[in-house]
């Protein structure tokens, strides 16, 4: 098939779908690069191209950058679907950059956990996977609670992430919540971190450092991401992931329809595909992300490595992204002062 | 045993044999020149005496003790370098005081006193507080000399000390060196490639060639009777003629027959004639030749004369006069003739 005839077919399909006679424009989305983008292409983008006979152009842009581009293009948007992992959809929706989605426009709507679609009313897209923060243990200890970080037999074996790493921020907020703090008062969380440091805990700033620490046996218990636990297992380290009883905060990844584009219906179809059980099972398989679709069935071995199921999903904790974004700078300053030697 | 005994010294640099078994005995208080063309090993020999090079074989004995394996600082010698090697970060006085300070045998005041005395000896006491780079070449040289004699070294080693000076200064320094030698009586070894310097300064000349001693004799003796064609050539001013000794006399390459007493036994021999022992015109013995060149030298004139296959040089007074192309006779007395061994 020549390029021309393929293009013509796409145009016909698009015009049928959109109910207009407008010529097909490129369908543009963002992704996050690396292994993520690889899985993204395999699980969503390529099947989507097949199903709707469109060509999808992928722009690698992380959440903050994607929001900045979206703002800059407000008059003439260039993305059809935009993905965020840092809560930027709240801002984007408030600024009118996103096209609201109603429940009846998503065939998979009813399968999603309530937390995954609670943003729809505010004009945000649904959450299609969650990177969960929990406890990584090398098997020596069998943690069940965030408090086990404080009772580790050797305080020096504990590691948490720095606040410049989103998981570090979530650790702070989670410990804060466990210790009775609120987003208006994170002092209990800072005190908890100080207590960990006094016990000899380490603060690491990047994922490879966690791998290094586990590999050198410098750490046996860490607060970090579930998907990275999988990476460590792939590297041959005997790491278990535990979702503590108090619940796990996560990084919520949303798929949003951009306002002011001619292909909104196609974009909604893309979002709908993203939240389908098959795709979410694929994410869980590929990167150990937690599904937000209640109908996802995972094989037993996989199920043990992913926060998964009604009960576990109910245990996911989400901090208000608006407050978090507004306070992040001040918290960073407080954190730095609390941890500096 | 002499004051300084060198026995069978050998030195190799890679595959190059710099010294091939040198043995020398040097008496206390004598002034010996090591003379030879560059690459003959004279400087290497000096550096071996100083301890700056280690010989591959042989021994150096000073005043009865074997110093072959001693580092330079333990030998109590002084060496003056061609480059003077003044320490640029110290004043002239501190330079001269340096050996006393390093040997630490007396108080600072005493060291300064002795350094001033040494500077006075070379008439430079007024420049004690200058820096070496503020001094002229000749002055630097005298500072180096003062520094070498300030602590009464057992042997004074001089490595081509005059070669960086212009002709006038060199003559002055020669006189100064001789004067100092007479006053201090230091055992002195002087390396030079300048035969005039060697002859005029030292009691004894050791002529070196290709890492071996070619001729070792008192200065006047080596001058009068160089002994070998190389010595005759290197000491300059001597003509070496290849002759055939026959029962009836000595046959030159132009066929002329001469009668010279003490001729070696029949066969080929080398006849040595000093150029200042020759004159233009008839002598007791005469050679026939053609003037090839005339070199005007102020008080004297040098003629280059072709005699058969040989070219001889004749040094004469100004009043004798011939022009290139003239057929002339060169005369000499038989008792001035020497035979090469």
């Amino acid at each position: 098939m020549t390029h021309l005839s393929k293009g013509a077919l796409v145009a016909v399909a698009a015009s049928l779908l959109a109910g207009t006679a407008m010529a097909q424009e490129t369908f543009v989305i963002n992704s996050f690069g690396g292994a993520y983008e690889e899985a993204h292409r395999r699980l969503v983008i390529e099947p989507f191209e097949q199903m709707y006979n469109v060509e999808v152009e992928v722009v690698t842009a992380y959440s903050a950058d994607a929001l900045a581009q979206l703002r800059a293009q407000a008059e003439n948007p260039q993305f059809d679907v935009i993905h965020f992992s840092g809560g930027q959809e709240v801002t984007a929706a408030a600024e009118g950059l996103l096209a609201p989605i109603t429940p009846d426009q998503l065939s998979n709507y009813s399968q999603l956990y309530p937390f995954a679609v609670e943003g729809l009313e505010q004009g945000q897209g649904p959450v299609y996977s969650v990177a969960v923060l929990g406890l990584l243990s090398d098997g020596e200890a069998a943690p069940t609670s965030w408090n086990d970080l404080f009772s580790a037999s050797n305080g020096e074996d504990v590691a948490i992430a720095d606040i410049t790493n989103t998981y570090g921020l979530l650790t702070l907020l989670m410990l804060n919540q466990v210790r009775g703090g609120t987003l208006d008062d994170i002092q209990p969380g800072l005190d908890a971190v100080t207590e960990l440091l006094d016990n000899g805990a380490q603060i690491l700033s990047s994922s490879p450092e966690f791998q290094q620490a586990f590999a050198q046996d410098a750490t046996s218990l860490a607060a970090y991401a579930q998907d990275y636990a999988y990476t460590l297992q792939q590297a041959g380290l005997p790491i278990d992931f535990v979702q503590p009883a108090e619940g796990s905060p996560g990084i919520y990844i949303t798929a949003n329809v951009v306002a002011g584009r001619p292909n909104e219906e196609l974009a909604r179809a893309f979002v709908d595909l993203s939240i389908s059980a098959a795709v979410q099972a694929g994410w869980a398989e590929a990167l150990r992300y937690s599904p937000t679709n209640s109908t996802v069935e995972l094989p037993v071995d996989l199920a043990g490595q992913v926060v998964y199921g009604d009960e576990a999903a109910a245990n996911l904790v989400r901090f208000d992204p608006v407050v978090v974004n507004a306070q992040r700078s001040d918290w960073t300053d407080d954190w730095n002062r609390a941890i500096a030697q | 045993m002499s004051f300084l005994e060198l026995s069978n010294i050998t030195k190799r640099f890679g595959t190059f044999e710099a010294l091939r078994g040198i043995s020398l005995s040097i008496e206390r208080g004598s002034f010996v020149s090591l003379l030879g063309p560059s690459g003959c090993g004279k400087t290497t020999l000096l550096r071996i005496i100083a301890g700056l090079e280690t010989p591959n074989g042989g021994s150096v004995v000073i005043d009865g003790s074997d110093v072959t394996r001693l580092p330079p600082e333990a030998r109590k010698l002084a060496m003056m370098f061609q480059s003077y090697a003044l320490l640029p970060h110290m004043t002239v006085l501190d330079n001269v005081r340096f050996p006393l300070r390093m040997q630490g045998s007396s108080s600072t005041a005493d060291q300064r006193q002795r350094a001033h005395e040494a500077l006075a000896l070379v008439k430079l006491d007024h420049l004690a507080d200058s820096r070496p780079r503020q001094l002229s070449g000749g002055q630097q040289q005298r500072v180096a000399l003062a520094r070498a004699i300030v602590y009464q070294p057992r042997v004074l080693l001089l490595d081509e000390p005059l070669s960086n000076l212009d002709a006038r200064l060199r003559e002055d320094m020669q006189i100064e060196l001789q004067d100092l030698h007479h006053r201090l009586g230091l055992t002195t070894i002087f390396v030079t490639h300048d035969q005039e310097e060697a002859l005029s300064l030292s009691d004894r000349v050791v002529l070196m060639r290709d890492g071996a001693v070619e001729r070792d004799a008192p200065a006047d003796e080596i001058y009068d009777d160089p002994g070998t064609p190389f010595a005759a050539d290197f000491l300059g001013a001597a003509n070496v003629l290849k002759v055939l000794v026959e029962p009836s006399g000595v046959r030159l390459s132009n066929g002329q027959m001469l009668t010279i007493g003490q001729a070696p036994k029949n066969g080929e021999a080398l006849l040595i004639l000093r150029q200042e022992d020759l004159s233009l015109g008839e002598g007791t013995l005469s050679l026939d030749g053609i003037v090839e060149a005339r070199v005007f030298m102020g008080t004297r004139v040098r003629y280059v004369v072709r005699v058969g296959d040989d070219t001889i040089r004749v040094l004469t007074d100004r009043d004798q006069s011939a022009q290139p192309g003239d057929r002339i006779t060169v005369g000499f007395s038989p008792e001035r003739a020497r035979w090469a061994r």
Partner: protein
């Protein structure tokens, strides 16, 4: 001055040619250095709220115990790094200058090699080497200097070790440049005058190497006071240094004005060392 060339004699195009030759360098200097530095200076005096003094950002730095402690650590570590680098770099440069070419240049290559690897790769190497169970920590515990399970990761000692390795080439090369100009006769003369090897090093080579050691030290100090990748990765987040704090302010908390004020102070500290040195060397060389 009959022999000097007056401008007219150099040819009519000389001025234009000079502009052409100096152009790229000048453009780079202005575009990539003076302009951003100017911008930083401007940013640093913009107060967080209108109506406040232009010194507000600087005052915040000096009134806050936290930033002063960060600055003090940065300064203290830079001094230690400079001293250690000089103590290792001087003998190394001497050996390179005075051993046969092959040996010397191999040593030099080994010293300079780290410069050819990316700072991140090199630093992760140090993280492995300095971490628990790593060879450096093991060596130290073997020598009885630390517990068996010791780690130098996230310690100031670790920062110093990793930084010294990174900066050693700068010290060695500048010092080597000076030592190579010292005539070997000076050392030989010193030896014959009764100074042993080490006293010759102390009394002859060291004083004559001072210009190289001083410029090497300035270079190392300026580089270490402003470095952040190695201190951050090896030292970890609990041992912040100024450059790391500035980086975080600029990228994470987006407080550009305060970051600019800290950058200005860092720049002032480096210039405060450099300018007296330049003035001193200029006077010495007339």
């Amino acid at each position: 001055m009959p022999h000097s060339l007056r401008p007219a004699e150099r040819g009519a195009g000389a001025f234009g040619e000079s502009i052409l030759l100096i152009g790229p360098g000048a453009a780079l200097l202005i575009g990539a250095f003076l302009f951003p530095v100017g911008q930083i200076l401007v940013l640093s005096i913009v107060p967080p709220e209108e109506g406040l003094s232009i010194w507000t950002n600087f005052a915040r730095f000096f009134e806050d115990d936290y930033y002063l402690r960060v600055a003090w650590r940065t300064f203290r570590l830079s001094v230690i790094i400079t001293l250690v680098t000089a103590m290792i770099g001087f003998p190394l440069a001497y050996v390179v200058a005075r051993t046969p070419r092959v040996v010397g240049y191999t040593l030099l290559l080994l010293t300079v090699l780290p410069l050819m690897t990316s700072v991140v790769v090199r630093t992760f190497g140090w993280i492995i080497a300095l971490g628990r169970g790593g060879p450096v920590a093991d060596l130290l515990s073997l020598a009885g200097l630390g517990a068996r399970d010791a780690t130098l990761l996230h310690t100031e000692t670790g920062i110093v070790i990793a930084m010294v390795q990174v900066l050693l080439p700068f010290m060695t090369l500048t010092t080597l440049g000076v030592i190579s100009t010292i005539h070997p006769h000076l050392e030989e003369a010193s030896r014959t005058m009764g100074a042993g090897f080490y006293r010759t090093l102390r009394h002859v080579v060291l004083p004559l190497s001072v210009p190289g050691l001083v410029s090497g030290s300035l270079l190392v100090f300026a580089l270490s006071i402003s470095s952040f990748v190695t201190p951050n990765l090896v030292g970890g987040v609990r041992l912040p240094v100024m450059a790391g704090a500035i980086y975080q302010q600029a990228t994470s908390t987006l407080d550009w004005n305060f970051a600019a004020a800290q950058s200005t102070l860092l720049l002032a500290a480096v210039l405060g060392l450099l300018i007296p040195y330049l003035a001193l060397t200029r006077r010495r060389h007339g």
